[in-house]
């Protein structure tokens, strides 16, 4: 198959492009980039007014399969990813069974290849069963395609355990991704500790419960020389720790979610809206502003969603009984466009770094760039179209999006993964 993508505004800082050019795809590769390219039999798409960027990757996604297919499946959640303009996702290992061995990695990859709507880069558990006791078979997982290790969902509680996992696993060259939560301090915390925990009578989840582990993980990364990536960073002081680690020259990166940037604890009112129950919790307006500042100045490397689908009946419960997590992969591009690009805080080049270049670099997967020879993973979006999150339902199996009802600007129209169309004019192929 060959496509000629005509007249889009192409943005790719890696290729040094920021202007209207044509892009030609043949089979799985980009073959030509330039002005007024001729079709030569390729299917021509007129993309005037659209923005074309290297395919977006969300490096923090819960696909729920195997084990929690009632929440979401590899098919349904990669479908949601494609709808959101993603060409790839990094799946989290808190499945059932836990993705902590080569067989389960192989399962995720094979289902993704058969049924998926984007690339799936599986991460594996750092410790067996996410229990924080025994190092998982990282070598076997790498052999089957694992790209990173994480005990996402709870984090490794013991510093000694983390040290063993990093010291052992660093020979595979993969990144260790940390969910930072000190369980002894956080306990059954439900919402950010402070104003909202007091007002709603819910147990507090203090910012310090996250910051202590960010500091500890940076120290252990220094000790072991392992590559560290802080997941879903939510506090101003936590970000400051990452900033200092980077200045020191450590291989430390971090990611932030739209909900920690564009929502705050104040959104949780007397209605106890469980779609706003996330882990780490929504923090203060000052924290959210600090994360946005980190996105602008480069301290935040990647924007991710921590897309966490749950069945409606699991979320339609008392706040304390509802599970943590919100979906968001169908809205993240629009939320970033609306709140960061349209407001002039960042440009599309920086957005591409945050949502495409850096995630691939951190995960150590093939780089994609809008230049001849590159894999044809491409996201095209309409930067001006306005829509309301959730108004037309979701492609995800779940509805627990904390941004439901929010009016946003910008939406993916066409997506190519390895030269194959996964989204055409906003419709899943």
């Amino acid at each position: 198959m060959a496509f000629l993508l005509k007249s889009a505004h192409v943005v790719d800082p890696a290729a040094g492009i920021d202007g209207v050019v044509d892009v030609k795809i043949e089979n799985d590769r980009i073959v030509e980039v330039g002005e007024d390219l001729s079709a030569d039999g390729a299917e021509v798409l007129d993309l005037s007014g659209k923005v074309l960027v290297p395919g977006l990757v969300d490096m923090h996604v819960h696909l729920r399969e195997p084990g929690y297919e009632h929440k979401g499946t590899i098919e349904s959640e990669t479908r949601a990813a494609a709808k959101g303009g993603m060409t790839g996702v990094c799946s989290m290992p808190n499945t059932d069974p836990v993705t902590d061995n080569g067989v389960t990695i192989e399962y995720v990859k094979s289902v993704a290849e058969r049924e998926g709507h984007c690339r799936v880069f599986p991460s594996g558990a750092m410790t067996r069963g996410l229990k924080g006791e025994i190092i998982s078979e990282m070598g076997d997982m790498v052999a089957h395609g694992a790209v990173a290790f994480t005990d996402d969902g709870r984090g490794v509680q013991g510093a000694g355990m983390l040290r063993r996992a990093m010291d052992y696993g660093k020979m595979f060259g993969k990144v260790f991704m940390s969910h930072c939560q000190d369980e002894d301090l956080v306990g059954d915390g439900q919402v950010n500790e402070g104003v909202v925990s007091t007002r709603l009578g819910l147990l507090g989840w203090p910012a310090e419960g996250e910051e202590i582990q960010i500091a500890r993980d940076i120290a252990v990364a220094r000790l072991t020389g392992a590559k560290l990536h802080i997941q879903h960073i939510s506090t101003a002081r936590g970000l400051e720790l990452v900033r200092a680690a980077k200045a020191e020259g450590l291989e430390v990166t971090c990611e932030a979610t739209p909900h920690h940037m564009f929502l705050t604890e104040d959104a949780i009112g007397e209605t106890y809206d469980t779609s706003l129950k996330v882990n780490p919790p929504l923090r203060t307006a000052e924290d959210a502003a600090a994360i946005v500042a980190g996105v602008i100045d480069g301290t935040v490397d990647a924007i991710v969603t921590d897309h966490a689908p749950h069945a409606d009946w699991e979320k339609a419960r008392e706040f304390e009984l509802a599970p943590f997590g919100m979906t968001g992969i169908e809205a993240s591009l629009a939320l970033v466009n609306t709140n960061l690009v349209k407001t002039g805080k960042i440009d599309y080049g920086r957005m591409v770094e945050l949502m495409s270049i850096a995630p691939r670099r951190i995960l150590g997967v093939d780089a994609v760039s809008i230049q001849p020879g590159s894999l044809a993973d491409i996201t095209v979006f309409d930067p001006e179209v306005t829509w309301t999150v959730g108004a037309d339902g979701y492609e995800s199996k779940a509805n627990n999006c904390g941004f439901a009802g929010t009016e946003v600007t910008g939406r993916a129209t066409d997506v190519f993964v390895g030269g194959k169309r996964t989204l055409t004019d906003g419709v899943i192929c």
């Binding site: 104003v195 007091t198 709603l200 819910l202 209605t271 106890y272 008392e318 706040f319």
Partner: protein, 314 residues
């Protein structure tokens, strides 16, 4: 008398006038409770469900008596026989109650926000009889009633609340209610028993020393201390707590001559106070509070279910 509330959950939605209406109505109902035949036909034909999803004896009994004395039909639903124990969700349970064609739900639940969920899934009136660590508005109202009876007004009244503020649903309603009525509130507790932001509830002052604040107080409100917890306990021993925060005879000289003592019950003698203070004939209003509970709950049921505007009469 305009009283436009459907539910009694968030006390901050009530104005000082609304609260005074409840207290004055409670006073009117007090007369019924003094009669030989303690029953009026006011709520005849109304069905009220007492949905107690966690153990409660006092609050449930108080509501039941209030309902019976107003001639409502009441149904007790909950305890160990609840469908929630069998895995049914709160929403499915309330949908079942709706099918019974009920008028009001009195709900006690260990989870904060449960009463709000009921309002979203039922046409019935909802009264929060205690939800998690969030609120307990009828307790706050009966406390106000007892204070009002003794002090006559709230403006400028200095109230000290001593004990487990942070895990107290009573405080979630009482402190805002006292503020609405114009009182000044000081909370007294060790840091482990304080919420993250006492000011958000409305507390004007925070103190670690009972002795320091006692001379100022018109009302000393002692909260119940859980005896059960040991592991992860918020203080080293009941002995030390009693020493630092217990209202004892030896502290009486610090109190104003007309300062009164409140407690939501059940009391722990030897922990929150000694027997001398708990039973103090002039100061302790603990049993008055229990009585006030019936009157205030009768008032709340009556006003929420339509009051005089509905052709109902006391």
């Amino acid at each position: 008398m305009a009283f436009n509330h459907k539910h009694l959950i968030d006390i901050t939605e009530y104005s000082d006038t609304d609260i005074m209406t409840i207290l004055e109505t409670a006073k009117a109902f007090s007369e019924v409770n003094e009669r030989a035949i303690k029953k009026v036909p006011t709520l005849k034909g109304k069905t009220i469900v007492n949905m107690f999803n966690e153990p409660s004896t006092r609050t449930r009994s108080s509501f039941e008596l209030a309902e019976k004395r107003l001639s409502a039909d009441s149904l007790n639903f909950g305890g160990s026989s609840t469908s929630t124990v069998k895995g049914e969700s709160l929403i499915d349970t309330v949908m079942t109650l709706n099918a019974y064609k009920i008028d009001m739900i009195i709900v006690r639940d260990k989870h904060a926000g449960a009463p709000y969920i009921l309002t979203q899934h039922s046409p019935a009136h909802v009264i929060d009889a205690g939800d998690g660590k969030h609120g307990h508005p009828t307790q706050a109202l009966l406390d106000l009633y007892s204070i009002w009876e003794r002090k006559g007004s709230f403006e400028g009244l200095k109230v000290g609340i001593v004990g487990d503020i942070g895990h107290s649903r009573v405080c979630g309603s009482l402190i805002p209610a006292l503020k609405i009525m114009g009182a000044e509130v000081t909370v007294v507790a060790p840091g482990t028993l304080l919420p993250a932001r006492p000011d958000i509830l409305g507390a004007d002052h925070v103190s670690y020393s009972l002795d320091d604040v006692l001379p100022e107080l018109d009302v000393v409100y002692m909260l119940r201390i859980q005896r059960e917890r040991l592991e992860g306990a918020p203080f080293p021993s009941l002995r030390e707590y009693h020493e630092l925060f217990g209202l004892t005879k030896r502290r009486e000289h610090l109190m104003k001559p007309d300062a009164i003592i409140c407690h939501p019950g059940p009391i722990n003698r030897g922990v929150e106070f000694d027997s001398y203070m708990a039973d103090h004939p002039e100061r302790s209003v603990i049993l008055d509070q229990v009585y006030a509970g019936i009157c205030v709950r009768m008032a709340a049921l009556y006003l929420l279910l339509g009051g005089a505007d509905n052709g109902l009469s006391a």
